[in-house]
Amino acid sequence: MSGFVSETSRRRPGTRRALFTVHGLTLIALVLIGLGPLYWAAKGAVSSPTELVTNPLALWPADARWANFSLAWDDLQVGRYVLNSFWIVLGSWAVQLFVAATAGFALSVLRPRIGPYVYGAILATMFVPYTVSMVSLFLTIIDLPILGINIANTYWAIWLPAGANAFNVLLAKGFFDALPKELFDAAKVDGAGTWRLLWSIVLPMSRPILAVISLLAVMHSWKDFIWPLVAIADPQKQPIAVALTVLAGQAPQDQLIAAMVLALVPPVLVFLAFQRQIVAGLGFTGVKG
């Protein structure tokens, strides 16, 4: 692709030099704004509190205090909070995948008569941002309708609402719709039951979309802040994102920065490992960030 700078003009030395300069400057700017803050956080995490104040522009501290990470992990209990986040992510992921797969399969392959109505009602929830119904969602989890139980302060309060993600259902149904119908008929002729049809044919063929839903679910639930803040009041159960806001008022600056680095390492690693899928996922997801 050559875009709005055409091949012929790219061959002109003037254009070539201009492009080279613009690209070089852009790359430098992107390194500064993309990697810069991360590097600065890493540097701050191993600096002593006095050095942070006396020599704030030092590129690397005179003596790096790697112990800050273990201090944050143990003394600030970051280890516990990261583990809490890990459980929250795991459960949210499982619930989202289960709801999206079963609903997508029912709506796309089984097609019960009420399917289109249910689908419409699911899509309609996309127009009501969850911040708008946050208050009533909280009143719902402290006294679940029909069941009459209180799930606030348990991870169920995060896992179960995470499943009500219309976008996942949209993605799953869209993908299942594009699978060849002959395959389902052939499987039925061979005597495969409904469950087998889902488990051995539809799901294995849908790995790409299951990966996209999984990555969205994992990244989103690691980043989520406002709902865990509301739903989990017990400090021992809070995820790292919520715990950091509490630590910010109490912990020494250098250990707090170390804690922040520990909180951002897992999602950055996931991004490094699945960069291609995450960027491709943006295409699937259209405008959902």
Binding site: I114, A121, P129, T131, M134, L244, V268, Q275
Partner: protein
């Protein structure tokens, strides 16, 4: 012409077979219907409990007085009256509009320009895309705390760097005049990556012939960008702008973690106010009333915006 009105035995048998088959099919259809329902059940239960019911209930409790013990009584428009009597409501609406406005002013052109540059890159495209998207994967709370440290008026990175070139020191989050701008700068940095990559994908999709034809007609670089590329991107631009508006109206993490709404309530936003009413004052009815008005505003905004851009993109 006379036709036999009496059915012959073999016809009768065929008729019976058809009817049996129909009932078998009906029974099979009923079974299929049932299995379909079983597989829909998780979605119906989850969406019912955690999406549909809270939406309906939000509407109900904005006309009620509700407490944690589960008792509630109808109070008519009391919640709305109390809401409009709160002088902070006007402040919060103004602040939110300021955040949205500054967000559009800074956060709308920046990704478009960056994506245009990236669309001409041929080597190391993956590196550029990686760097652009990196801030997006950092948890928002971490980003905000990191920037809070950068903004620190004592030994913060920004004032130190700007001091080197003889600028500042600036009060950033400490002054009501600059606090909101500081929030917008961070949130633009944190949210831009996804938008850049979506624009980039759309730019790559613009047919090359259009640029070639324009060039043959003598269009220069800016004309090719302005008259060829941007018109081709109108739908994407419109959608992303709408998405940005809807997102920035709901801003919460930045004011909550950066400033807690201060200084002097200069960063108290609508969502922060909902949070305070509901979860700090236990005034669920008033919180739900404000949330209801917010939902109305969002819906209205989307409708007006989509209507305006539809006529614009047709022209």
């Amino acid at each position: 012409m006379t036709t036999a009105t009496v059915t012959r035995p073999d016809e009768e048998q065929a008729d019976r077979q058809v009817r049996a088959a129909r009932s078998r099919r009906w029974r099979a259809g009923g079974r299929r219907e049932l299995i379909g329902l079983v597989f829909l059940l998780p979605a119906i239960a989850i969406f019912g409990l955690f999406a549909w019911w809270p939406i309906v209930r939000g509407l109900i409790i904005s006309f009620q007085r509700t407490d944690l013990m589960g008792s509630s009584e109808w109070v008519g428009l009391d919640n709305f009256q109390a809401l409009f009597a709160d002088p902070l409501l006007g402040t919060a609406v103004q602040n939110t509009l300021l955040f949205v406005g500054l967000g559009v002013l800074i956060g709308f052109p920046a990704p478009l320009i960056l994506a245009s540059v990236l669309s001409t890159v041929r080597r190391l495209g993956g590196v550029y895309r990686f760097l652009v998207y990196l801030p997006v994967v950092i948890p928002p709370v971490v980003s905000v705390l990191l920037w809070k440290w950068f903004y620190d008026p004592g030994a913060g990175l920004f004032n130190e760097l700007l001091g080197k070139v003889g600028l500042g020191p600036y009060p950033w989050l400490e002054s009501p005049d600059t606090a909101m701008l500081s929030l917008v700068l961070e949130s633009t940095w944190a949210g831009m990556g996804g938008t850049v990559l979506i624009y980039l994908a759309a730019m790559v999709g613009v047919p090359q012939e259009l640029y070639e034809a324009a060039e043959i007609d003598g269009a220069n670089l800016w004309q090719r960008i302005w008259h060829v590329m941007l018109p081709q991107l109108r739908t994407v631009i419109a959608l992303l702008l709408l998405w940005q508006l809807i997102n920035t109206v709901q801003v919460f993490t930045e004011p909550y973690v950066f400033t807690g709404g201060g200084p002097q309530n200069s960063t108290t936003t609508v969502l922060l106010l909902i949070f305070r009413y509901g979860f700090q004052q236990g005034n669920y009815g008033q919180a739900a009333a404000l949330a209801f008005l917010l939902a109305l505003a969002l819906a209205l905004m989307s409708a007006v915006y989509l209507r305006a851009t539809r006529s614009w993109s047709k022209s």
